[in-house]
Symmetry: C2
């Protein structure tokens, strides 16, 4: 059922058809449909009517998949009854994400309608720092105390499992300390009368509540776990992070890196949800900073003014040289930044990277320099000396660019800055100045201007 079907069915008051169609759809698709309606400024009254057409379960389920903006619109027209129905459907970590997005008045209403247990859990999770494992974990995991038999554990799963985010890996605790993890499959294939701790795996990969969520996600992916237990400083299990949250974290982090590397302050909303003003605000600071730092190149040029006043053709090669420097540099910086992000490259590889980039630069620089020198000599008829000047400059700037491009991101990390800010725009602004210096000083040297 696509959006136009919905609208027509709604206009024709075919509510029963609507209801049954919704039953057929996946909650995520229903959610998408609602966001689209909101984008088209569909009247809120009809929106909430549409929501009420759905069966309680479908409605609540699809609510959990909606974007914050859509959720807020609905919550505002919810009865307290509907709100608490929805909250019962939510896993605590989803509820927390929701609360984090909402304005204060909505938040207080959410907390008022959440049952006491969930309310305390939400408040608890909200205490963890942003981007920490604690802030993304869910407290809905299944654990067994030591001393229970496997069949007892199965009873527990049957009784509580349905409210838990996953039951496929369960945890064994001894005085709240995490002592083991056991997969449901192992439980199924073991003798039901055995004690749970006898089949549980005792050396377990865990993360701390304060660990960075990105490293948590990568750990989960490294060990192919579908949930990773989060423990506090006393090794007590306080929650788990499941694979689906890990995937979201990885994608968010990647989107953030893409933005930073293009000198855009990361947006918290999607491209279209972000207002024009907010877009401008997120782009202007870097543009301003980079534009003003580009005045440096101006100084360099004015310093060599007489040089290109004598040999005007020198000016025509400036953009090509600066461009080549920028491109060579961004190649290196991007590879290094990405390599560090996925833990392929560590700070201790400093020298290895330097040596590798230097050799790559030699090859690239030589090829580019020769090609360009010959082109200038044969096609632009600019004279051998000019050709040599430009050719050598290219070699020089490529080597410089790859060294600067690869070292600056590592330096940034070394001093605990985000390596991503040392990406293309930053690097090329720095390289513009350096490459002009190389170019003009070579010109003075070779052409005696």
């Amino acid at each position: 059922m696509n959006i136009t079907d919905v609208i027509t069915l709604l206009e024709e008051k075919k509510l029963i058809t609507l209801r049954s169609n919704f039953e057929e759809m996946h909650p995520a698709d229903i959610a998408a449909l609602f966001s689209e309606l909101i984008e088209r400024n569909f009247p809120e009254a009809s929106l909430i009517l549409l929501y009420r057409v759905m069966s309680k379960e479908v409605a609540a389920e699809s609510f959990t998949y909606m974007e914050p903006s859509a959720q807020e619109t609905l919550i505002n027209s919810f009865t307290d009854r509907e709100l608490s129905e929805v909250l019962d459907e939510l896993y605590v970590d989803d509820a927390v994400d929701m609360v984090e997005e909402m304005p204060a008045n909505v938040v207080s209403r959410i907390l008022k309608n959440a049952d006491p247990a969930m309310r305390s859990q939400i408040n608890n999770l909200l205490k963890y720092p942003v981007d920490s494992a604690g802030s993304i974990m869910t407290t809905e995991f299944v654990y067994f105390r030591t001393g229970k038999t496997i069949s007892e554990c199965f009873d527990r799963i049957r009784s509580v499992g349905i409210m838990k985010e996953t039951v496929y890996t369960c945890y064994v605790t001894d005085k709240r300390k995490l002592v083991g993890a056991v997969s449901l499959l192992e439980m199924l294939t073991a003798d039901p009368s055995m004690l749970i701790e006898d089949i549980a795996e005792s050396n377990i990969i865990t993360v701390n509540t304060l660990d960075d969520k990105e490293s948590v996600a990568r750990t989960l992916s490294k060990y192919d776990l579908h949930a990773i237990p989060v423990v506090d400083n006393e090794d007590r299990i306080v929650g788990i992070v499941t694979f689906d949250d890990a995937i979201d974290v990885i994608e968010e982090e990647n989107t953030e890196d893409f933005s930073k590397m293009a000198a855009v302050a990361p947006l918290d909303e999607s491209y279209f949800k972000t207002t024009v003003w907010h877009h401008a605000r997120s782009r202007l600071p870097w543009l301003l900073f980079l534009m003003l730092s580009a005045t440096l190149t101006g100084f360099v040029i004015s310093k060599y003014e007489d040089a290109f006043e004598k040999v005007a053709i020198l000016v025509t090669f400036m953009p090509m040289i600066m461009g080549t420097a920028g491109n060579s540099g961004s190649q290196s910086s991007t590879l290094i930044i990405r390599g560090m992000a996925v833990d392929e490259i560590n700070l201790r590889d400093f020298l290895k990277v330097f040596w590798k980039e230097f050799r790559v630069a030699l090859i690239c620089g030589a090829v580019l320099g020769v090609v360009n020198g010959l082109r200038i000599y044969y096609f632009e008829k600019a004279g051998a000396l000019i050709a040599v000047t430009v050719g050598l400059s290219i070699v020089g700037v490529v080597i410089l660019a790859k060294i600067v491009g690869s070292m600056l991101p590592m330096l940034a990390k070394k001093i605990h800055l985000d390596p991503a800010i040392m990406a293309t725009p930053m690097i090329s602004t720095i390289l513009d100045t350096c490459s002009l210096l190389i170019y003009f000083s070579l010109a003075v040297l070779i052409l005696h201007v």
Copy 2:
């Protein structure tokens, strides 16, 4: 146990200690340890000895986590016996990945030692196009024929589950057609005497064997599935893609996009595993292309030579104007490319994007232009007309840059090119020329040079 411990223990022939230490480690960490040893050119003989120290299970398990290069080294010194032991441990999809990486002679040896069932499955999977769902799926999923009771299904899980990649979502088939999916939790909480099809979910998210693996991964993540069934054109289930493979796909695709957007041909190996020559080969083509297309800027400049010979100071602002154009453009192109990659932006949003970027450009351009104009007027004392010329140029190039930067990637997608190739380097090379044209024609207009 870290690498030095291993080496010392090996030298002191403390093999029993080694063996028991390995038992304590996670296979993924053992694998990492082996790759590190290989990087340090640890003698192959000692490497295979180290491998044989481990218990059969641990050895085979950790082998599955190793990098292709490490696997190849070991396979070469494996006895056929050891090789087939490892192959028994592998899931078919891992085996396929392995085969795809290995040289022909190794491949034939692998296939020779795989049991007939696996051999045929490997050959089968190898037939699917690269980057297709078929090429990354595993054929080890659990399915039940309709008509079975839940308790019968549990027996099946107990007997075959241990060899399957996941048992937590099982599939119901009728004459090999996929008719339902059921979670192990639902089976646990239902009455064992019921028929499986009665509790199975009948409207299922599936993908086709030929679907692109990236879209498969995103579908899985969109619906928070931990496995997604892969069906052929007759709706027969032929495999599943599990969340861990999906995460790997997402990360690969992101790494590829980062490379492409920095004008680097994607590498198939990690940064350090890639040789200097290969690095150079993957970077040179774009550098060459971009360098040569930069000659265009040369033509523009020489066309206006007399302009800046009269007003030399004009030259000093060239880099700043080109830089600002490049940065503004890459901001837009990156946001659009990423937005399309994660399906937030579609081609039909063409006009919406245009209108949004245009307004953002107006704001950014105005601010940058005014700031720069005032700076030039008050600090560089370059005269009002120059200030106006540069200021207006900035406004012009920012607007142009954001339009070009946002439209070109969408255009690329429209004509079925990878949008990522329209990223920073490409955009800024194009913009260099355009921005110089704007700058100089404004100069001629305002300064009458």
